[in-house]
Symmetry: C2
Subunit: 337 residues, 2 copies
Amino acid sequence: MVTLAEVAQHAGVSASTVSYVLSGKRSISATTRRRVEESIRRLGYHPNAGARALASSRSNVIALMIPLRTDMYVPVMMEIAIAVATTARTHGYDVLLLTGEEGPDAVRRVVGSGLADGMILMDVELEDERLPLLRGDGRPSVLIGLPADTTGLTCVDLDFRATGALCVEHLAALGHRDVAVIGEAPAVYERHTGFAERTLDGLRSQARDSGVRLLHRPCEGGYATMAVTLARILDERPGTTAFVVQNESAVEPLLALLRQQGRAVPEDVSVVAICPEQVAVQASVRLTSVVIPAQEMGRYAVEHLVAKLDGRGDEEVVLIAPELTVRASSGPAPARA
Amino acid sequence: MVTLAEVAQHAGVSASTVSYVLSGKRSISATTRRRVEESIRRLGYHPNAGARALASSRSNVIALMIPLRTDMYVPVMMEIAIAVATTARTHGYDVLLLTGEEGPDAVRRVVGSGLADGMILMDVELEDERLPLLRGDGRPSVLIGLPADTTGLTCVDLDFRATGALCVEHLAALGHRDVAVIGEAPAVYERHTGFAERTLDGLRSQARDSGVRLLHRPCEGGYATMAVTLARILDERPGTTAFVVQNESAVEPLLALLRQQGRAVPEDVSVVAICPEQVAVQASVRLTSVVIPAQEMGRYAVEHLVAKLDGRGDEEVVLIAPELTVRASSGPAPARA
DNA sequence: CTGAAAGCGCTAACAC
DNA sequence: GTGTTAGCGCTTTCAG
């Protein structure tokens, strides 16, 4: 293993000079710099991460906590994780992957050990038990998602409230008066994951404003459950002419079932989805949708965290404005029977 | 920040004693141990990761390199990643997440800096440019996937050759003589990702042995492309009575299209999928399938890597035997026309 | 613009 | 069964 001292010797300079060449924290003559850089290359030197962390009390690692559950919005999470990892690299950070499993202990461990300089948490619940640890003094953190109380926290998320409103607004404008909402699995609501409830808020309040009747039903993914849910909805509200779907694994089943029942999309019923772009585009009907900006959220989260780590801190809640893209699944409400 | 020295002082023992209580590398009297543990708790001590890594030249971190592409088998990768992370924790390791983006440089960086003690690589190509770095001396590594030449490497993967064979065998036994294979996207084959080619091998050789005619077509996910692919297949081989699908995002489109064309599954055509269990179970028809054992692969990979790190090394290729689960999508071939 | 040297917090001989 | 101590490789004052 090549050490900084060896590089120094090889280049005929002192250790500190090599260190400063690396960090750029003081000016170095062009000649010296070149000699040192040459030695570094020749010897294949890589600074030792542990030593560096010990001496500087910075690990250049950020921790990313992802939920354990693989049952929900998996592609979104993956996309976020990848965006976080690549963005982090461009800022000189590596990413430590933590699963929610350990809960608050993981936060304590990582922060306490100096394994990471800061952390990004996904899948935040409204009353998340990890929040107290983040609020106080601890290391900087950024949440992807919005808890009930955001004081002292930095959060990034899609504005799900506005998203819900936007969906209803779109449908109302097309003349729909009876809208059904296919939501996430019941467990998601029970767990009080913020985004689901906020979407619902947005849907409801806009529905009130637009004179739209709303029926909300959580739904596990898959055909079997979707079939039951749909039957129930059409039973309770036979006049339903539009659906808002916030559940990736319910999208395709819904479309198939509608088709089977001879309900044409968008002539007889409209469908608006809240989902990643790929899902919207690859579905059997190109879906009018509000896209979940996974990459953007990941990038944002890292950039805010890095800013905080650099002392350019700012406690702030960033809500990304939703954008509704009209595709082939939504159209004017059919004439009343 | 609480240091080991402070714990030692608080407990009235020496630093080394605290260290040994923590590592268990020498015997400690029950009394001392209790006193130390109490002090650790009371002071909220967490060993500093950097210092520990520096002194012991072990970081207790393993690196996981995942592919950048989010277009392919995303849920599988996510499942593997999570299995890796949780298994690693049970062995006292944390996981560093690397994207394939940096390529071989990432390997050099991580290994050279001692950031991680070993690494797990996913999405290995047949002639992967990272392999030379892993083969030689370097830190221990485990591949998930199988390159062309495995000498000096440890690999874990589903036995895709056997998987292909198993699918054909199943269909042949049911009397099918014309089988079409819906494969991964063309890019996957062009990139020479091993698993796709090995599956094809298995399919083909078993087809020869069983007197089955095989037609293989790569396919991007989604409805539009699947429709084109299917039309072409039925045009070339109108007698096709069975499909093997190895492409998650083609499964549902295929089923929907067959339905639209009035071909009943499994009465008119059989479908066998190679996919994660969830996909097989949640599809519109419960699919006869060979499951991709993502969790098992992740777990295995970590356990082998940890074994290597502990000196219980073993260069070895582990191929997990495929298991075909018969569900509702396969049945006897229809009587010949 | 460059050197010298004091730690950072922990591990692992080496002593007893 | 426990204490002492010499580093691990780097960063960062303090000097010049």
